[in-house]
């Protein structure tokens, strides 16, 4: 049962396409698990449709419809399938996404897609936490997968910016609560926490950070300067 959701403001920004790409990806990954938020997004889109209908119309060029039909006719000639788009098939998973799906069950499509994009290595942050950078075609955030081993304890850390986390598999807890599959968590500066994975299974998360986290434990302070921020 999903307990933690993006708030209405975030969903409104998502559904109006004003959230930046990386954060929108986090919301999208949550939607994969959450029918309640899917419904809310639809409601927002309905409001958008109704608002579109009360805008003051702006005249188009007189021959604009003919031009449009010309473009469509041209498209029909260019492509063997004509100018009609079939409902898209699910893209084939790449090897790495397939392996992860075998291990953790089906992942949100957008996550598999980012894994497909580039094969990068998992890196250890401490003995329980590994992280793998994902390429999301943007420069404002670091998008990554985080994996905490069953029963593992991630380093205690603070946040320099906004961090959105979606639990993709398993669960973790910190002093504030327990987060399970599909949960959407936002942390910001001052939210110091130390995620601990459930004892019975690994915890896999998608994380989207606007700035690198800041390790706060004793060893953390020593390795802090070595944490690199990748945004791409």
């Amino acid at each position: 049962m999903i307990q933690h959701h993006p708030d209405d403001n975030l969903l409104v920004e998502y559904a109006n396409g004003t959230l930046d790409t990386a954060q929108a990806i986090a919301v999208k990954a949550h939607l994969h698990f959450c029918t309640k938020c899917q419904q809310n997004v639809k409601r927002i889109e309905q409001i958008g449709g109704a608002m579109l209908d009360i805008l003051e119309p702006e005249a188009l060029g007189t021959d604009s419809f003919d031009k449009l039909m010309d473009s469509l006719d041209k498209l029909a000639l260019e492509s063997p399938k004509g100018n009609i788009v079939e409902t898209p098939q699910s893209p084939k998973l790449g090897k790495e996404a397939e392996d992860l799906a075998k291990q953790y069950g089906p992942l949100p499509k957008i996550v598999s897609k980012m894994i497909n994009n580039q094969s990068l290595k998992w890196k250890y942050v401490n003995s329980s936490l590994q992280t793998r950078h994902l390429v999301a075609g943007q420069t404002t955030h670091q998008v990554s997968l985080q994996k905490i081993n069953a029963g593992g304890i991630a380093p205690e850390h603070d946040h320099r910016g906004t961090e959105m986390t979606v639990v993709l598999k398993g669960s973790f807890s910190d002093k504030q609560g327990i987060y399970q599959e599909g949960d959407f968590i936002i942390k910001g500066p001052g939210d110091i926490h130390q995620p601990i994975s459930a004892r019975n299974e690994d915890c896999l998360c998608l994380s989207v950070e606007s700035a690198p986290v800041k390790l706060t434990g004793f060893f953390g302070r020593i390795i802090n300067p070595f944490i690199k921020h990748h945004a791409a």
Binding site: D8, N9, V12, E13, A15, N16, G17, T18, T21, A24, I25, K28, L31, T35, Q38, Q39, N40, K42, R43, E45, Q46, I47, G48, G49, A50, M51, L52, D53, I54, L55, E56, P57, E58, A59, L60, G61, S64, F65, K67, L68, M69, S71, L72, L75, N83, I84, V85, E86, T87, P88, K109, K113, M114, N117, V135, A136, G137, Q138, T139, A232
Partner: protein
């Protein structure tokens, strides 16, 4: 501050104008759904033309309110064309039990705008992630079915007009001018928290109509 007052006035004027034009020309939601289904089923050009004549000028208005004075009118026309091409190409997957025509077209227009912004961003080209993979166009998703009735769309319109001015202004900027909450806060010279709470209040009223 001056700007905010001006905008508010123009919003009120727009509102009046749309209420006046409402009386004779509003077609029921199902009318447009039917046309869209005809385009999907048999590439019916007359239906497509009817859709174009109704939604084209609204779409232009939508794009213009996001990019006032920044871009040429020709570019606005191109964004309208791009959206209508998608309408034609994807009409076969339109499902009226999932969305009214206006909702579906709104999502296509939103995605066209995002596409344009992503084309301008060179980093977006470093991945093969399509806009539709992050923002769906209402055709794909899950177990959720909702018949959007004519009355419902009308209810939303009426209640939009009844929103307190300060909420209506913010909601309009967020939806039609496609501004983030922080952009709205900056433009209206308001604390971000105030913008967020106005959006939430308005959302609650509007969403309660769509259960």
């Amino acid at each position: 501050m001056h700007k905010a007052v001006e905008l508010k006035q123009s919003y009120i004027d727009n509102n009046k104008a749309s209420m006046e034009s409402d009386t004779s020309t509003k077609k029921p939601t199902s009318f447009w759904n039917e046309h869209l289904l005809m385009v999907g089923k048999s590439q019916d050009r007359l239906s497509f033309k009817a859709l174009y004549e109704h939604f084209g000028p609204l779409l232009k208005s939508y794009f213009m309110s996001k990019f006032p004075n920044q871009h040429s009118l020709q570019m606005m026309d191109e964004l309208v064309q791009e959206t209508m091409i998608k309408v034609w190409q994807k009409a076969n997957s339109y499902d009226q039990s999932k969305a009214a025509a206006s909702t579906w077209i709104f999502t296509l227009a939103r995605n066209t705008r995002i596409d344009m912004l992503r084309r301008q961003n060179k980093y977006a080209n470093t991945t093969s992630i399509e806009t539709e993979e992050i923002w769906e166009d209402t055709t794909e998703s899950g177990p959720y079915h909702m018949l959007q009735s004519h009355r419902q769309a009308d209810d939303i319109r009426v209640s939009l007009e009844k929103l307190p001015e300060e909420q209506a202004l913010v909601i309009r900027k967020v939806y039609m001018e496609s501004k983030s909450h922080s952009e709205v806060a900056e433009e209206l010279n308001l604390p971000l928290g105030t913008v967020k709470s106005r959006v939430r209040l308005a959302q609650n009223k509007l969403q309660s109509l769509i259960q």
